[in-house]
Structures are given as structure tokens and as C-alpha cells.
């Protein structure tokens, strides 16, 4: 779960705070856990929520732009780019993105949330969520090229 917190927070100290607050909430609310889902998934959701709360507190999610024209081909990245992607490279790639891009990329690509759910969680429109994901992938592609991975 430390890695989950670190993916959302650029600073290690912030990730530690999220981890501590998240696990405190886990132990505090453990009696509310129902057996319908996985325990790991429940903890992961709590950690993600804590991370989002911290980002909101730091006003890191305020800037969000919306694209009018979306061309998915412009941000497609070949799968070969990730075949030899190291863990540290992933952190560097995520840290290289603005907070809004990184948050939505994390929520959509890694956590598996839908744009509707992300829009509700971040109090933004669905189109803003989609736009931020496109911009995140564009930025990711540029960063991959800088790191020497085949991004085209």
C-alpha cells in the first residue's frame, strides 16, 4: 500500500502521511468491512481516498482543463514501451506529470475506475476526466521518449 500512496504523492513524506492516515482508518473502520469484496481492494480504496483528500487539502487538483477535440491516436503508446519498464521508471514517469494528469491516470489506468466514477470522486465533469487522461498520455509519451523507450 506504500507504493499506492507513493504513486499519488510526489513527496515521500506525503506518501507516508497518506499511509498512516489510511491504515488508521482501516483499523478504525475494520468492523464496517463486508465480505462481499476483497480485503486488499477495500484497503486500497481507503488509501486512494486518503491520497485524494491530501491532494484536495493541498489544492493540487484545482487546475483541470477540458479538450474540445479528442483524437485517441494522438496519445496511443505502443505496448513495447512498457515491456522493459522498470519500477523506478514508472515512478519517474508519474512524477513527471502534473498532479491532475497523474491522479486521473492512476485512477483510470492503474486502479481501474471509470470516468464517471472519477468525475464523482474529484468533483469534475466526465469530459474533464477524459481530457486529463489524454493529456496525461501525451505527456507520458514525451517522457518515455526522453527516457529512451520506443514511444512511436
Amino acid at each position: 500500500m506504500g507504493a499506492v500512496a507513493r504513486r499519488y504523492c510526489r513527496r515521500d513524506a506525503d506518501a507516508d502521511d497518506v499511509l498512516v492516515a489510511g491504515f488508521f482508518r482501516v483499523f478504525d473502520k475494520i468492523d464496517t468491512f463486508s465480505d462481499t469484496g476483497s480485503f486488499e481492494g477495500w484497503i486500497r480504496r481507503i488509501i486512494v481516498n486518503e491520497a485524494l483528500m491530501l491532494l484536495r487539502k493541498k489544492h493540487a487538483l484545482r487546475q483541470a482543463s477540458e479538450l474540445t477535440e479528442v483524437d485517441p491516436a494522438s496519445y496511443a503508446i505502443p505496448a513495447a514501451a512498457t515491456e522493459r519498464l522498470a519500477e523506478q521508471d514508472i515512478l519517474d514517469l508519474l512524477d513527471g506529470m502534473p498532479t491532475g494528469y497523474r491522479t486521473i491516470f492512476n485512477l483510470y489506468v492503474i486502479e481501474g475506475y471509470k470516468h464517471r466514477e472519477i468525475a464523482e470522486m474529484l468533483d469534475i465533469s466526465i469530459n474533464t476526466s477524459k481530457s486529463q487522461l489524454i493529456l496525461a498520455k501525451k505527456r507520458l509519451r514525451e517522457l518515455l521518449e526522453k527516457l529512451g523507450y520506443p514511444a512511436r
Binding site: 500500500m1 506504500g2 507504493a3 500512496a5 507513493r6 504513486r7 506518501a15 507516508d16 499511509l19 498512516v20 491504515f23 488508521f24 483499523f27 478504525d28 496511443a76 503508446i77 505502443p78 505496448a79 514501451a81 512498457t82 515491456e83 519498464l85 519500477e87 514508472i90 515512478l91 483510470y108 489506468v109 492503474i110 481501474g112 475506475y113 471509470k114 470516468h115
Partner: protein, 132 residues
């Protein structure tokens, strides 16, 4: 589940495989938070001031205020009754019957009463208007 392309799936797989275990400091902080919660709200302090201290100060101030605001019956009644008694005396003094001034009785008055100056003291009786 969101629609992911092959890059997203690969990225997700690698990212989810990352591990960053919590250090002893983080576990200590979690333990502190949990122990603070278990000791209840009475243990919560702000700048070293405990809730029971605040309650004690409030009680002391309220008690002092109530003590100073209480009426003092003994002093108030004495002070209040003094002028009333003076006023009563003043009001009733005008209605008192005045005692007529003394006038010596002369022998042989025209109302017909006989006044003797030579009878012995034991046989004398006061005139009717002076009897009780």
C-alpha cells in the same frame, strides 16, 4: 472496468507489482493514533489543557458568579423596614388625641361640683371626669 489498451495493461501490471513497505516510524505513528483513540475523548488535549480542566474552571467561575449574585436577606430587610416604621409613626402622630393643658380647679365652679379643701385625704374622691 475501464477500457485499456495494451500499453495501459502492461503499465498497470508493472505499477501494481511495485512494493514500498511501511517503516517502523509509520507503524509507530499508527499505533499512537490508535492508542489515542482507544483512551477516549477525555485524553484529548490541546496545548496541554485537558477537558476536565476546562470544566473545572467553568464550574469555579459559575460558582463565584452565583455567589456574588445571591441576595442577602438579613441586611436588606432591616434597611427596608426602618423607613417604614418612621413613616408609620409620622402618620399616626397626627391622629393622637392631645392631652388638654392643666388648669387648676377653683372652688365653687358654675358646673355645681363641690370641692372641699378641708376634708381628710381618705374621704376624698376624684371628680367623675377624672375617673378612669
Amino acid at each position: 472496468m475501464s477500457k485499456l489498451d495494451s500499453f495501459d495493461r502492461q503499465f498497470r501490471r508493472t505499477a501494481r507489482g511495485m512494493r514500498r513497505p511501511a517503516g517502523p516510524q509509520q507503524w509507530d505513528r499508527i499505533e499512537q493514533l490508535l492508542s489515542r483513540r482507544q483512551s477516549g475523548p477525555a485524553a484529548v488535549s490541546w496545548m496541554g489543557v485537558r477537558p476536565w480542566m476546562v470544566a473545572a474552571v467553568v464550574l469555579l467561575v459559575a460558582g463565584f458568579a452565583a455567589f456574588t449574585q445571591l441576595p442577602r436577606p438579613a441586611q436588606d430587610t432591616v434597611l427596608a423596614q426602618r423607613p417604614e416604621s418612621v413613616e408609620d409613626l409620622a402618620l399616626t402622630a397626627t391622629t393622637f388625641p392631645r392631652i388638654p393643658d392643666y388648669t387648676p380647679v377653683s372652688e365653687g365652679r358654675p358646673d355645681g361640683e363641690v370641692i372641699s379643701r378641708s376634708e381628710p385625704r381618705g374621704q376624698l374622691t376624684p371628680a367623675p371626669k377624672y375617673r378612669f
